[in-house]
Amino acid sequence: MSAQQIEYNIGYLDEQTKRMIRRTLLKAVAIPGFQVPFASREVPLPRGWGTGGVQLTAAIIGSDDVLKVIDQGADDTTNAVSIRAFFNLVAGVPTTTRTEDATIIQTRHRIPETPLGEGQIMVYQVPIPEPLRFLEPRETETRRMHALNEYGLMYVKLYEDIAKYGHIAKTYDYPVLVNDRYLMAPSPTPSFDNPKLHQSQALHIFGAGREKRIYAIPPHTDVESLGFEDYPFEPQSFDQPCAICGSTGVYLDQIITDNAGGAMYACSDSDHCERTAARADNEEAAS
């Protein structure tokens, strides 16, 4: 066998695997926020590095698509570059960094600043799909809680945070209730991004390869971040604008600039930042 040339299928996944993932995905869309088990395959990435997202993208992508891959909001982080290169190698689809040009956006940890439009699909890489996992490690138990719509455990945790710190101490992977029924982990995106999920125009699909689960939020679906009447959900926000493009109301990376703890804050969304900065330059040149 090893004497032969090793050849992989176009798009890497075989048609049978794609069908299995596609059927799973259809059920995920039909039951918003419910984690559908699937026979996750090994893919040529380490488990935990986006194998769920890669399988979803491979199962949906076609020659009409334009793919954008981001990690931490940026198109140029090594992991984003690596996954983009993988799809270029095995599927030969065009890629872009412009959010509005993309039909499929595979992401780790961010939702782009540019509002998503109808027909776009966000593919999330999910490490731990179970929002209750750190409160109850057993799958058999958490499965029962979802079946019974019994999410008291999560509310107790959030309440304990308030008692201890005066705030809900959850800053990313902030739990949401989808379509008023299923408690769902939005993956480790910052709570800043949570409001973008509510009544979004795009389809959001989530793949956890190692944990073998797929779930989804259809467009125009209610997605409520948990909170209490007297302690409502509060997405994080930044006081300062981006040091590069001047945007406000965006998520910022802290970049350490010297040994004395000096720092600057710049957009985590590299596409948004570059284009806002370029627009500002053009306007300056024009005036």
Partner: protein, 208 residues
């Protein structure tokens, strides 16, 4: 699958990966936007009892891991059974109660609550109904709300069988359990996931 036909089945997709992907995206879009119809390109020819639309859905979603219940005309048609056996390998279910996919016409649609509905633990283990919309049912117009719909949507449903609204309302009440519906004509597909709520609209456009 039992088949008495010795004829070679008509060809499936000419380019399965590409065509299957396009049909799948249409189905995915349809489920994500309930009631909206999307274009599908089926195989060049398909057994008449199946039609190119249902054939496209079958070629895209069925394989050895899937069981399918066929309405009588299709089940008794060797062109259909040999086509599905050859191109998909799907198992034909003898009863509709356990099938993963249920292929029916408006006249032959079994009672939805007799199909696989999933469990509270595993609501995804429920049937997907693929309705052949080439022949009309009694027809109806609905206002639809739910995930995937911006506010509300009007659905023209010539395919709706008698008593569909009541059956669909009962199906919705089972949530998270329940069946999902694909409606396919020769070149279009629309979908109603179990989350879609329907209300009847009278001929004057008033909600009944």
């Amino acid at each position: 699958m039992n088949t008495t036909s010795t004829a070679v089945p008509t060809p499936g997709f000419a380019d399965p990966p590409t065509e299957g992907q396009r049909v799948f995206r249409a189905i995915l879009d349809a489920l994500a936007h309930p009631g909206r119809s999307y274009r599908i390109a089926g195989p060049a020819q398909a057994p008449e009892a199946l039609g190119t639309g249902l054939a496209a859905v079958a070629l895209t979603l069925f394989d050895e891991e899937v069981s399918v219940w066929l309405h009588r005309t299709a089940a008794e048609n060797p062109d259909v059974t040999s086509y599905l056996a050859f191109h998909t390998g799907a198992r034909v279910a003898t009863g509709h109660g356990s099938a993963n996919f249920v292929l029916a016409t408006p006249d032959t649609l079994p009672a939805l609550d007799e199909l696989a509905l999933g469990t509270d633990d595993a609501p995804h283990q429920s049937a997907t109904v693929v309705l052949d919309a080439r022949t009309p049912g009694v027809g109806a117009r609905f206002t639809a709300t739910g995930p995937g719909i911006d506010g509300q949507a009007e659905i023209e449903a010539p395919w709706a069988p008698a008593g569909f609204l009541a059956a669909w309302t009962r199906n919705g009440a089972l949530f998270p359990r329940g069946v999902d519906l694909l409606v396919a004509s020769d070149d279009r597909v629309l979908a109603l996931p179990r989350t879609t709520r329907l209300r009847a609209v009278s001929d004057q456009g008033q909600e009944a």
